[in-house]
């Protein structure tokens, strides 16, 4: 064969873009670190360490009085019930919205403004803000928590369901569509078998998150473990705090085990039998339904009462108080500063977490590291924030650290899973050709896993922006601090501006991350 002439220009066409990107990142990172109050010295200051140490020392022995344990058991059940009922509501909302918003099993992509818009608004407003609003309409109690979870998580589930369905190979569904199947059928036969595992594991993961969120909502009066935690933290009662934290961890571990069982059930090859439900899936379905019924019974939820005309009227009246939002120049400037600070907290927290998580996801022997990751993520950000505030003082850095700690736990687990699910052939071939383990990882495994790692990180970053806003409720800076102050002062028009800013921020982040994903995808 003819040997071709030397190449005319051998320069990597991607190099300029990479260099530019790296420079831009460095230029952007500096002011972000500034705004997030990044200060390693504060982390190591002796007086801060002393306060934190004193509090942590009280963690032993944990409080084990019978009265307290009875209270704890009741609160735990209530938390579980809020999470379960809230997630059920979220699921009911998410399925039709995801179906409408997703382009999965469509022959031509279609823009669905209503479904997409609803999903954006639902999850653009943090569940804690929904909870604050519902507490004012329906009074203190679990109803506000369930509704808040249902709406916010409905938005999140719907968006992720839509994305998962779009991310699996489309060919089977397209083939069915072309042979005349309707869209729902093509989706059920062509996409669901591929996506079921991820969909169900994500739903179970969301249920875990809902448990944590229902704890957090206890801080604004929606009952459950959060209320107990709030009291223990406010009184710096380390013994009670450690018992409650241990309970969280048990809850998260239990959810983990449940998720594993579900996945194994999905992986098991179907029995040669016509009935759709075997004893295992039948038991599972019955158990889920029973848990839901028990939750509604425990919460004494009066579902119809939430959908009466009167409830709607008081709802509308309350919502009307936020309109028109305050648009004065001075207030807008303050809100803009809050937005910037929130962004900075979320970015710095997420970047720190991504670095730590990748390190913790690498070791082959998972057991000790999984324990650490479980510990990190079983403590909600808001609780971490109360601890980091003791460590570095109130302010945005405490928020960034709290985000980083919790997010490391979440991302570390997801990263480890993604790395394990990456086909090993590429790295194995490189090792066979004499490459070392580290290089086989960088050249073989990472390119395969990178899109997934990036998608997880970006998605987590979106969530962290919402969380960075909430962290302000315990004084960790950002938009949340503004909202909390204004709501406590009944300055509803000002609060309306902040809520709008949160929504706008969420939409902007969505757009940015979608654009990034398209570029990297």
């Amino acid at each position: 064969m003819p040997l071709s002439a030397p190449a005319p220009h051998l320069r990597d066409p991607a190099a300029r873009g990479r260099l530019g990107g790296a420079l831009l990142a460095a230029v952007l990172l500096w002011p972000l670190l500034q705004a997030a109050g990044f200060d390693l010295a504060a982390l190591l200051a002796p007086e801060n360490l002393r306060v934190l140490g004193g509090f942590l020392r009280q963690f032993l022995p944990p409080e084990t009085g019978a009265d307290f344990l009875a209270l704890l058991a009741r609160a735990t059940l209530e938390t579980l019930a809020i999470a379960t009922a809230g997630l059920a509501l979220a699921f009911v909302l998410a399925v039709p919205l995801a179906y409408g918003a997703s382009n999965a099993a469509r022959e031509r992509p279609r823009w669905s403004p209503v479904a997409r818009g609803l999903l954006t608004v639902l999850r653009g407003i943090p569940e804690l803000v929904w909870a604050l609003v519902f507490v004012r309409v329906f009074g203190l109690g679990p109803a506000a928590g369930v509704l808040a979870l249902g709406l916010a998580y409905g938005g999140m589930l719907g968006k992720v369901y839509a994305e998962i369905l779009e991310s699996v190979p489309a060919a089977p569904a397209q083939a069915l569509l072309r042979s005349g199947a309707r869209r729902p059928i093509a989706l059920l036969y062509g996409l669901l078998p591929q996506a079921a595992r991820e969909l169900s594991s994500y739903t179970v993961y969301r249920w875990e998150c809902a448990v944590r969120a229902s704890v957090v909502m206890g801080f604004v009066g929606a009952g459950g473990l959060g209320q107990l935690m709030d009291q223990a933290m406010k009184m710096l009662n380390g013994g009670e705090a450690s018992t409650i934290l241990a309970t969280f961890m048990l809850l998260v571990l239990a959810a983990d085990a449940l998720s594993g069982t579900l996945r194994r059930a999905l992986d098991a090859p179907p029995a040669a039998r016509a009935a759709p439900l075997g004893w295992r899936s039948g038991t599972l379905t019955a158990a889920v339904l029973a848990a839901l019924a028990a939750s509604l019974w425990l919460l004494e939820m009066d579902l119809p009462a939430l959908f009466t005309l009167e409830a709607a009227r008081s709802m509308a009246e309350f919502a009307g108080g936020f309109f028109p939002p305050e648009m004065g120049g001075a207030w807008l400037r303050q809100v803009a500063r809050g937005v910037w600070e929130t962004l900075a907290i979320s970015i710095v927290g997420t970047l720190l977490a991504a670095l730590l998580a990748l390190l913790l996801a690498l070791p082959r022997r998972r057991a000790p590291w999984n324990l650490l990751l479980n510990l990190l993520r079983s403590v909600p950000e808001l609780v971490w924030a109360t601890l980091t505030a003791l460590a570095v003082g109130l302010g945005p850095f405490a928020g960034a650290l709290a985000l980083a700690l919790h997010t490391t736990g979440v991302l570390g687990r997801l990263y480890a899973e993604a790395l394990q699910n990456t086909p090993p052939t590429a790295a194995r071939a490189l090792r066979q050709a004499g490459s070392g383990g580290a290089m086989a990882f960088l050249y073989g495994t990472l390119p395969g896993a990178a899109p997934q790692l990036l998608a997880y990180t970006l998605y987590r970053w979106e969530m962290n922006i919402r969380m960075a806003a909430i962290l302000g409720f315990v004084g960790a800076g950002g938009l949340g601090q503004l909202l909390y102050v204004e709501l406590s002062l009944f300055h509803h028009p000002q609060a309306g501006t902040v809520i709008l800013a949160m929504l706008a921020l969420s939409v902007a982040v969505d757009a940015a991350s979608a654009a990034l994903r398209r570029r990297m995808g």
Binding site: M1, D12, P13, A429, Q432, A433, G434, A440
Partner: protein, 273 residues
């Protein structure tokens, strides 16, 4: 000797025995084709030579290094040895989102120092080298494409470009042309043979296309049910031997009319020698 196998057997963890008492050796610079029906153990044999698998029994010596039998403490074998063995895999093991240039350069990861391998992730360390290797498989215009933009046949040739770039002393190819059309398959097998000949490297290739094996390789080894059926110069391989090699299991039944014996080399492939 490039490699020596002495009574090598291999049992997969499930208990399935893939190879029995394989004794096979090749001098440095020999070109050997492996043929045989599916499941005969061709890939397993290549995996043992490529140090991907340890033998369950028998002695293995590759490029002068004796390999421990079953995967013991001394596994995996030294990187320096593995860097001298290049494999073309049946399904190219390339990450879909990796660029072709990176995939080709990865062939020398075993030879490069760590700093060079790291730096090459930021800017390709040897663009001319990657370009030249790709040019030999006529893919130079795909230098900066991503692997998932290529067709199956193009991907297979990227895998070949990688091993050409690696310049191994022992070149193992497992069905290297299974995704290529006959013309391209011939050109590609010729390329592997020429590359090995030019560098004095040993080449072992498993092929389903018997005609290609007979036309391009001096020595042909037939494998059947994990044993060596014959090990002969290509011109000594007779249609009767091939018919016996590919006969359906049970052996006694004559081949049905629908399954003729594999074709002998047509005139077109005479060009190969």
């Amino acid at each position: 000797m490039s490699f020596e196998l002495d009574g090598v057997g291999l049992c997969h963890p499930g208990g399935h025995a893939a190879l029995h008492g394989i004794t096979l050796a090749a001098r440095q610079g020999e070109h050997v084709a492996l043929i045989g029906p599916s499941g005969a153990g061709k890939t397993t044999l290549l995996n043992i030579l490529g140090t991907a698998l340890g033998a369950s029994s028998g002695g293995v010596r590759v490029l002068g290094t004796a390999l421990a039998p079953a995967p013991p403490a001394a596994w995996p074998p030294p990187r320096a040895l593995r860097a001298r063995i290049g494999s073309v895999h049946q399904a190219p093991p390339l990450p879909p989102r990796q660029r072709v240039v990176t995939a080709v350069l990865a062939g020398r990861l075993g030879q490069w120092p760590t700093w060079k391998a790291l730096a090459s992730l930021l800017y390709p360390a040897d663009l001319p080298g990657a370009h030249a290797a790709l040019a030999r498989v006529q893919l130079q215009d795909k230098l900066f494409a991503r692997c998932d933009q290529l067709s199956g046949g193009q991907l297979q040739r990227v895998g070949i470009a990688r091993v050409l770039y690696q310049q191994p002393e022992l070149l193992l190819a497992d069905e290297p042309v299974s995704a290529l059309d006959p013309t391209l398959a011939l050109a590609t097998v010729q390329l592997l043979v020429q590359d090995a000949a030019a560098r004095g490297a040993t080449l072992v290739a498993s092929l389903h296309a018997v005609d290609l094996a007979l036309a391009c390789f001096a020595r042909v080894v037939g494998l059947r049910a994990g044993r060596i059926a014959f090990d002969l110069p290509a011109r000594a391989v007779t249609p009767a031997l091939l018919q016996a090699l590919y006969a359906p299991p049970g052996g006694a039944a004559p081949a049905p009319a629908g399954a003729p014996p594999p074709p002998l080399p047509p005139d077109g492939y005479a060009a190969c020698r």
